[in-house]
C-alpha cells in the first residue's frame, strides 16, 4: 500500500483512540465526583496532567474546575489533545483515504464528528454529560467493530491497528503515571472506602475494573500496576498492546514480497520490548521506580513510532526498505 496512505490510516486510528480515551477519563471522573468528599475539585487536575498539557491549561483557564477541565479536554481547539481536535484530525485522515477504508467506517466517524462539532457550537453544550461521553465512547467502539468486520485484514488494517494499539499503550502508561502517585497512601484516607473507590476509578479509566477483580479479587497497589503494565490478557495493558502491535508488524512483513523471513526495524524494536515485558516482575518495577520505568516505556513507544515513520510512512521510506532488503540479500548470499 502507499506509504502516505499507511501513515494516514495509522493516524486516523491513533487519534480516534485518543478521543475514546479522553472521553472515558472524563466519564469516569464525573462518576467519581458523585462520591467525592468536599475537596472534589482536586481530582480534575490529573486529567490535564495526563494529557501533558497542564502549562497550556493554566495559561488559558487557571483553575482546574470541573467545568474548565471538561471544556478544555472536550471542545477547546487550542488543546491539540481535545476531543474535538483529535476527532477532526481523525476524520480529516479518514476523508483523505476513503478509497481505502469502507463507507460504513467513514459514515460513523463523519457523523460523530458532525455531532461533536454541532454540540461545541451550541449554547448549553452538554445537557447530559453521562450520555454525551457515553455516546463518544460507544461510537468509537462501534468504529473499531465496523473496522474489524467490514475491512479486509490487509496491510492497511494492520497499520490502523498499530496506530490505536500504540496510542492505547501510551495512554495507559500516562494514566498510571499520574494517578498512582496521587493515590499512594495518604494518612487520612488509607483503607477508607473512598481510597478503594479511587483505585477502582483508576482501573475503570482503562475499562479494567471488572477484569482486574476477576483476576485479583481485591485491590492491591502492586497488583494494579502489574495488571495495567504487564498483564498478558487484558487488552489495554501495555504488554498486551505491544504484543499485538508486534503481531501486526509480523503480518505486514508476511504480506510483503520479502515474506516473513524479513524483519523490519520497528519489528526488531518491538520484539526486544516484548521479551523484556514478558519477563518483567512487578516488584522489580516498583523497586527500580515506577516513574522511571514508565518514562522509559514512553521513550520506547516514541522510538517505535519514529522507526515506523522511517521504515513505512515517510516519502523516502522506499529507499529504507530497498536498502534493508539489499542488506538482507547480502547476508544470505
Amino acid at each position: 500500500m502507499l506509504s502516505r496512505v499507511a501513515h494516514m490510516v495509522y493516524w486516523m486510528q491513533r487519534y480516534r483512540e485518543r478521543v475514546e480515551n479522553v472521553a472515558r477519563l472524563i466519564d469516569v471522573n464525573l462518576y467519581l465526583s458523585i462520591d467525592a468528599p468536599g475537596d472534589a475539585q482536586e481530582q480534575w487536575e490529573p486529567l490535564v496532567i495526563t494529557g501533558g498539557d497542564s502549562v497550556l491549561f493554566k495559561e488559558l483557564y487557571g483553575e482546574a474546575t470541573e467545568q474548565n477541565v471538561i471544556e478544555f479536554l472536550t471542545f477547546d481547539e487550542r488543546n491539540k489533545n481535545s476531543i474535538l481536535h483529535c476527532l477532526r484530525e481523525s476524520r480529516d485522515n479518514a476523508r483523505a483515504i476513503r478509497q481505502v477504508i469502507t463507507s460504513e467506517m467513514w459514515n460513523e466517524l463523519n457523523q460523530l464528528y458532525l455531532y461533536i462539532y454541532k454540540t461545541a457550537g451550541s449554547k448549553g453544550k452538554i445537557t447530559s454529560p453521562y450520555e454525551f461521553f457515553q455516546k463518544i465512547r460507544s461510537t468509537c467502539q462501534l468504529f473499531t467493530g465496523i473496522t474489524d468486520t467490514t475491512m479486509s485484514h490487509n496491510a492497511a488494517w494492520h497499520f490502523g491497528r498499530i496506530g490505536y494499539l500504540l496510542e492505547r499503550a501510551d495512554q495507559t502508561t500516562r494514566i498510571l503515571d499520574v494517578k498512582y502517585f496521587i493515590l499512594l497512601p495518604s494518612p487520612q484516607h488509607v483503607g477508607s472506602p473512598y481510597d478503594d473507590i479511587q483505585w477502582a476509578a483508576l482501573l475503570k479509566s482503562i475499562s479494567g475494573f471488572e477484569m482486574y477483580m476477576k483476576k485479583w479479587n481485591d485491590i492491591r497497589h502492586a497488583s494494579v500496576v502489574e495488571f495495567m503494565l504487564l498483564d498478558p490478557y487484558f487488552p489495554r495493558s501495555v504488554f498486551s498492546c505491544v504484543r499485538r502491535t508486534l503481531d501486526s508488524l509480523r503480518a505486514i512483513s508476511a504480506l510483503s514480497e520479502q515474506g516473513s523471513a524479513y524483519q523490519s526495524k520497528p519489528e526488531q524494536l518491538l520484539e526486544t520490548l516484548c521479551s523484556e515485558l514478558a519477563q518483567m516482575k512487578v516488584y522489580e518495577v516498583i523497586k527500580t521506580g515506577l516513574h522511571e520505568f514508565i518514562d522509559n516505556l514512553q521513550m520506547r513507544i516514541i522510538e517505535i513510532h519514529n522507526s515506523l515513520y522511517r521504515t513505512f510512512f515517510s516519502p523516502n521510506a522506499y529507499e529504507m526498505i530497498y536498502q534493508d532488503h539489499q542488506a538482507e540479500l547480502k547476508l544470505t548470499e
Binding site: 500500500m1 502507499l2 506509504s3 502516505r4 477532526r88 476523508r95 483515504i97 476513503r98 510483503s256 532488503h325
Partner: protein
Amino acid sequence: MTELAKETFFSGYDPQGFYDEYFRADQQVRSAASQFIERVNTLSKSEILNRQRTAEQFFYNTGITFNTGGSSNGIDRIFPFDLFPRIISHEEWGMIERGLQQRITALNEFLRDVYGAQKILKDKVIPSELVYSGRHFLKSCMGLMPQQGIWAHVSGTDLVRDKDGTLYVLEDNLRCPSGVSYVLANRSVVKRAFPNFFRNYAIETVENYPEQLFDTLQHIAPQSRRDATIVVLTPGIFNSAYFEHSYLAQRMGVELVEGQDLIVQDGYVFMKTTQGLQRVDVIYRRIDDVFLDPLVFRPDSQLGVPGLMEVYRQGRVALANAPGTGIADDKVIYKFVPEMIRYYLSEDPMIANVPTYLCCDEKDRDYVLKNMEKLVIKPANEAGGYGMLIGPYSSSAERKRFAQLICKEPRNYLAQPTLSLSRVPTIIRNRCEGRHVDLRPFILNGRNVYVMPGGLSRVAMKKGSLVVNSSQGGGSKDTWVMRKQVGSC
C-alpha cells in the same frame, strides 16, 4: 386512471413559456414523465418535503460534499440536490447516444490528426493559426501516438435544450470533466426516496460506470502488461473534486495517488508503497496538463511527477486523458466540430452546435460588438462558468469592459446567442417552481464508445438564472433515461 387529489404538488405550476421537461405548453404531461408525476401525485406535500430533507441529510452524513477552497473546520458544503429528476424518453436518448458517439469519435480523429499528419489543417478545414494559438495545444505532444490511438478517454459533454425543444451541444469537456460521482450519488439517493418506483418502472442504470471506466483504463495499458496497475492521480484533499477522485478510486478498487506518491526511476513510473516501489502502468489523472511534469511544463508544479512525460513518450505508462487533448475542447475550436464530423466521418452531425461567433474573425467580431446585449460572451478556455457575460442580464458598464477585453484579445473570446434553457420542476422552499437545467452525460472511449444513459443534470437554483455551474450556486438532479417499455405501445 387514478383519481387525483384535488390539490397536488404540481397544482398551479406554471412553465411560464419556457420549454418544460415535464409539461407541454398546453399543460399536458409529457409521456416520459407521466408515470413519475402520477406517483408524486399520490404523495402529500409533507411526504414529498420529507423525502427531500432525508436526501439532503444523506449527503451530509455520508460526506458527499465539495469544497470551493479548503474550509478550515472540515464542514463542507453539500452540492444542492433536488429530488425531482430530469426524465428523458427512450427514443430521444437513442438519438443523443448516437450523436455523442459520433462526436467523440470525430474529436478523437481530430486529435490524432492535429498531433500527427495535420491533414485537416492542410486542407484548410480549420485555420491552423487557431490551433497553434490555442492555450491547450501542446507542441511537445506532436508525433505522439497514445496507446490504442485514443486521446480523449473520458469526456463530459454539456447539452442544453432551447425554447423550441432543440438539443444543442454547448461544450465538449475533454479535460478531466467532473461530476460523475454526483450522478451515482444522486441515483442512490433517489432510489431510496422512491424504491417502489424503481422496482416497477424501467429506468436505465448508471451504476456500472466505475466498471466501464476501469475497463477503459485497462484497455490502454502498455502492451505486455496483463495485470496492469491503474491509479487515479489527484491534486489532493483541497481540490474541489477530491470526493470524486476518491470515490472513483474506491469503486474501481485502485490506489488514489498524489504526485508525491509517484517517482520516475530507470525509465518507469513507480508508486511509493510500504513494501518499496511498485510499477504503475495507467494513470487516470485528474490534474491539468501543465502540472503533470515540472521538467516539461510548469517548473513550479508540486502536483506532478518529474520525468513523467518522458516515460509517457516511451509508451511505458498511459495517461488518461492524453496530454494535449485540451485543444479539442477549446471553445473556439468547438465551432469546427460539425466540420470535423463531416471531414473525418463523412456524416452529418446528429446533435447541433450552438451558433458561435468568433471574435478573431472580423465580420463575427463586428456582429458581436453590435449585439452584446443579446449574446452570451465566453472566454475560450475557462471552465466553471467564470469570466462570462450574459448579455440580456448585463449592465452597460460590464458590456463596455467586455468590449475592451474582446478587442484586446480577440482569439480568446467567442459569443453565442442566449439560449433559454429548458426547465424542470424543482422544490424551492416547500413549493414547486421551474428551474433551468443542462445535462452532462459522461462518455468513455475505450474498447468502444460508452455513453452513460443519463448524466449529471445541473440546475440553476436561483430564480431566472441560466448559470448552472456548481461554483456559481448551481445544484443537481438525477437524470432518468426510460427504458423501452415492453408490451406497451
